[in-house]
Amino acid sequence: MNRSRKSGWVALTIVLIFLGGWEAAVRIFEVPVYILPSPSRTFETLAANPEMYLQASALTLGESLAGLLIGVLAGGLLAVLLTLLPGLEGGVMTLAILMKSTPLVAIAPLLTIWLGFGVVPKIVITALMTFFPVLVNVLSGLQHVEPALTDLFHSWNASRWEVLRHLRLPTALPFLFAALKISAPLALIGAVVAEWTGASGGLGRTMWLAYTNLNLPYLFAAIFILAAGGMSLFRLLGWLERKIVFWLPDSRES
């Protein structure tokens, strides 16, 4: 507890030094606001439009979490399926990599044609973005059980299901958290990218409007919110990991 509080202070200090240096540089070199706004100007913009940014953030966060949930469930379930039916792995992974390699910006209008102008296409894009890291990580987690333990389970005459339930899934949990730490910040980006390609609300739309007006304080205010959101999600996952995967030593405590 003491240690994590200390590391929190260290992190805060580093962030403050970074922001201070940025502020000083903008003032000393008199950088015009349409090139790079100062952090103070950015925070002022945030403070002047709390309602707008709150609404936009809530929408984007909602889309991100919904997409993340779907992506994680789909990736996790598919990984389990491929472990139970290893013959399918080659085909399914090819398809997954194909999907992963598709620039989602290019297919966003197609999703609008099929799913309308609302939040559904944004959630689908976020799910598509977050699903792959989960699939790959969880699959390798499920497959990387110690052979000695597999042999032991076989000697007990354990069924394929029992091996999965009591051996493979617990082994895969740390892998799932590793994947989540990648996918959660990615989910925020996914929702923003989806909104950037056409939306009637959300941080992505705010950023797109601000950029096309070259109103950079508004743009950076949204970036600050996203950075804070990504960091909070990451820390929340770290905390959950320590609670759920309690049998593994925490890298920070050791």
Partner: protein, 362 residues
Amino acid sequence: MCKNFCLLVIIVFALVACSPAAVTPVATEPVSTPMAEPTAVEPSPTAAVVEPSPAPVELLPMTFMAGYKPQANLPFVGVYVAKAKGFFEEEGLDVTVEHSAGQGQHLQLLSAGTIQVTNQDAAVLLQRRADPGLPLVAIALLGQKGQQAYAALKSSGIESPKDWEGHTVGYKGTPPPDLFALISAAGADKDKIELVNVGFDPRLLTEGKVDVYPVFKSNEPYMIRSWGYDLNLWAAEDFGVPSLGLTYVTSEEILETQPELLTRFLRGALRGIQYASEHPDEAIEITLTYTGPETDPAHMRFMLDAELKDAQSNLTAEKGWGWQTQEQWQALADMLKAEGLPVEDDISSAFTTQILEAARDK
């Protein structure tokens, strides 16, 4: 019950009057589901007559997608104002306004029938019709002049396109045909000019990364001047190069199956434009309800004023907002062809005055 029936009779009558083949009661179905068989549509002098609905009746839903983010482009303002002032409602329409991110998806959605009307630059419309063959038809030509111009900082000493030689000239995406036409019309040598892709970022001009920057006349000049720079501007039409601006555009299928819907839309939107020209302050206030707080009202006013100016010509003085002729479109097509771009041989299906006439002959 009787009210609905009467409305249906009126609408069916109107459809019969303006397009003999389209007798299916399209109005009672979702508008994106065309019911009638595609047939050749002939411009009909006996235009449809639909009384503005006095009692609250079911409005016909449709979607207009603005071709870019919310701002004071004239086609957008016409729709914003018509919606806010109830002009569409008087026409019996419930118009939903969507905005495209500006990467062509509004044309895709129009071709797919998801939306009924959008707006598009005339030169791009001609090119997309030829390749990949999108079924686009301009129902009104608002921009009687093109939207583009080229800007240099006054302090750069670049006084004419001839001076561009030895300098860098930016373009957005692909070099537009009017750029080459302008260069040769001004007597400059394009081989002595270095072209660079700059995307949307006028800061590249003020930071000296590029000497001549492509602008939309109604947009970036305001921004750059507000940063304290003076500009020299050159537009294709100043050098006798034909150029046209934004159109209201629909698809061939919607034009065939729902001309009445388009007529009502255009009547409302042109009324919105007329209102905006008479009450620009109020039009900007309405526009700002779409744009959000990151938009500068003075910038929007500059945009509206500039586009209202370019929407007026001898032709529109005689015939009204949005009028268009074969002559205008042919001149533009000839210029594009001369620059080696794909354009259909017969461009007469790329635009129609059928809806303009019907909207006017109320």
